[in-house]
Structure formats: C-alpha cells, structure tokens
Symmetry: none
C-alpha cells in the first residue's frame, strides 16, 4: 500500500489540525471533517483506509456515524472521546468501532493504534511481492517464477540468489553479501558457487544466457538485478 488515506473527524479545529499535521508528516494522506454529516460524505467520497473519529460531534452522535459507516464499509475506525466511561466504550466498540482512545491522548499512542488498525485491515499487501520484466514475472510471496506463461522451477539455491538480487533492484550486491545471505556464515570465499548457480539462474530466466539483460555481473565486485527500463 502506498500512502494510506486517513479521514480525521473532530469538531475542534486545533485537534483536527494537530492530527492532520502529525499524520501528514508520517506520509499519510489526510482528509478532514468537522461534523458527522461531513464525515459520512467524506468517507463515501474518498474511501479512506482508516477513520479517526471524535464521538462528541455537534450534529450527529458519533455512535451513529459509526453505524452509518458500518452499513457499507469495514474501514478501521479509531474512536477519540473525552468520555472515559465503560458504557461509552462498550457501546462504541459494539457498534463497530475498532479502537477507543480517551482524550487527552498521546500522539504516539494514537499513531501506534492507527498503525495496528491499518495493519489488520491490509492482510498481506505489505510487501511488493511481484516483480515483472519483459521476460519473466517473479512473485516473491508465492515463491513462483513465470516465463512465457509457464511456471519455471527454481531450486532453493537458485531461488535464494534471485531473491536477494530482486529485493535490491538496480543495486549492486557484493559477492560477500550474496554468499552470506544464501549459504550463511563462513561461505564468503566460495565464489565458485556463485558462478555455477548464477549460470543456472540465467539459463532458466534470461532470453540469451550468454548476454544477460537482467542478472548482470559486476566483475570483481558482485551481481546486480536490473528491472526493465
């Protein structure tokens, strides 16, 4: 996921602003609303990835905003409230809220709870598991390589090489790092292994193994994976 969007709902401008600044500083896209009607409208307009919602709104009761959202979306909702009573918390959580933070709140804690809520909502999109080139497609999560529509089988060693290089696209990876990553401590001098297994990788993935386009050798240094330009 890139730049999660967060909808901040609070009628107090200074709190709204403090939240917006802190969220924006951490790379979130921020939308704001000052009352319940605006919140519902903004949610349906922007489809945020999370909602931070103050319960004490001037027009609609915050609980009803939760219910309104839950009618059509499962977006994580973190409640902000001055009310510290158990009754309020239970009611909000059972209405469908995901978390409940009492004002005054610590910004770090709120952000951590927001991260937790976002993490749960995005099952496994965390990494970017798919790397695609003109010649082949590598799915790091599924451990699969597809070439010309057909799956290509890689041995564990070959997969280790591909993985360490593909996870550092465009960057030079030294022999030492490759050997330690794939073979482990104590194999830093076995550069012969690299030649043999790298040849195997290129034979399986490169269109012209003798003149590789993606798995390049940097003489005396290491190797480099080059995605499509």
């Amino acid at each position: 996921m890139t730049a999660p969007a967060v909808l901040v709902v609070d009628d107090e401008p200074q709190i709204r602003r403090a939240l917006a600044v802190n969220l924006a500083a951490r790379g979130y896209t921020v939308h704001q609303a000052a009352d319940g009607r605006a919140a519902l409208r903004a949610a349906s307009a922007h489809h945020p990835d999370a909602v931070v919602l103050d319960l004490g709104l001037p027009d609609i009761d915050g609980i009803d905003v939760v219910r309104g959202l839950r009618g059509w979306t499962t977006v994580p909702i973190v409640i902000l409230s001055v009310r510290d009573g158990e009754r309020d918390k239970v009611e909000a959580l059972d209405a469908g809220a995901d978390d409940y933070v009492t004002k005054p709140f610590g910004m770090d804690e709120l952000l951590a709870r927001l991260r937790a809520a976002l993490r749960r909502a995005t099952p496994d999109e965390t990494a970017e598991p798919v790397v695609e080139t003109a010649a082949f497609t590598i799915d790091l999560a599924a451990h699969t390589v597809v070439r010309d529509g057909r799956p290509v089988h890689l041995t564990p060693t070959e997969w280790g090489l591909v993985e360490v290089l593909v996870r550092n696209p465009g960057k030079l990876v030294t022999r030492e790092v490759v050997l330690r990553t794939v073979w482990g401590e104590g194999f830093e001098d076995e550069s012969g292994y690299l030649r043999v297994h790298m040849a195997s990788v290129r034979r399986k993935l490169e269109a012209d193994p003798a003149h590789p386009a993606h798995f390049l050798t940097e003489p005396r240094m290491g190797y480099r994976f080059l995605p499509d330009p």
Copy 2:
C-alpha cells in the same frame, strides 16, 4: 463461528480466574497459561481465536511472546498491562498486538475490545470456503471433501495439511510453517511426518498419487497447492 476459543495468559491466578469465569459465562472456550513458555505452547496446541496476554510474565517478556506468536499466526492479541506509559503501548502495538488495556481494567470494556478483535479477525468465514478442482471439491467451512460425488474421509492430520495448503493456493508453504501449523511449536524438524501424511493425502485425493497434479512438492523447501489452471 461457534464458541470462539480464547487463550488467557496471566501469572496472577485471581486475574486469570476472573477472566476465565467471565469468558466462559459468555460462551467462550477458555484456555489458560501462567507464563510465556506455556502461552506459546498452548497457542500452538489449541490454535485459539484470540489471546489475552499480560505483559508482566515471570519468564519471557510479554513483547517477546507477541513476537513469538506473530511468527506464525495472525490471531488477535489483546494486551493487559499495569504499565501505562506511551512507550510500552507503542512497542507492544508495533510488535503486532491488536489492542492494549491498562490494569486495573473494566471487565465490560475488555470484553468489548475482545469482541471487536474477534469481529475483525473473522470476516471471511463465508467468503469462499469452497475450493474446487477437476478431481475433488474441498469445503473448508464444512470440513468436507468430495471426490467423484462421494465423500472422502480425512484424518485430523490429513485435514490439517490440506487446510493449510488450500488456504494458500498457488503459494509455497515451507515445511517449517506446515509443521508448526499442523503439529505445533517444537515439531519443525519432523519432516518425516510430512512425507508420510502427504502421501496419504495424495493417495486419497490425487488421480495419480505418484504424479500429483494439485499437491506438489518443492524439494528441500516445502509444498504447494495448485488449483486448476
């Protein structure tokens, strides 16, 4: 879902007991553990639907218990702690906890937070629990397998294998993950079990067990379930 199972981890017997009584009264199945090692063991043995975890354990730091769990499961974790500092909360939540409640806590609030955690964790029981291939049909929700119109009986171990693989269609599942999921913590080296029970699964489900079309072996790595193309 019927009768969610909750693992309660706390070293103070009276708190553990209070939680267990309240949870049981509301229809939950309750498992208990008094320290971190027991918690990890119980989690892998019972596969609870949620974990209530006290941070102040006698043996392992609660944070490390969270990390230990997160290594192989996404079960919701609600932290209980006497520590009210922001640092503690942020650390626990970022380690993978889902919620953080400070002692002394209100039972109603804790239960509400637990309900919220459970609600989030089970959105997909109705999603698509049925996996169909040309050879057989697997209904994950109903725990049934049908082949050629006739039901196929799987033993608990066989079902565990089928389930963990089918829930990750197309993805490589390492031996370590399979063993921990089906047998639990401490069985990561018993790859012999895998061979035997996998052969059993293939004998029951594959048209040609010697040349499986759906339950594939990735030598030295793990196994992979391949749906129909």
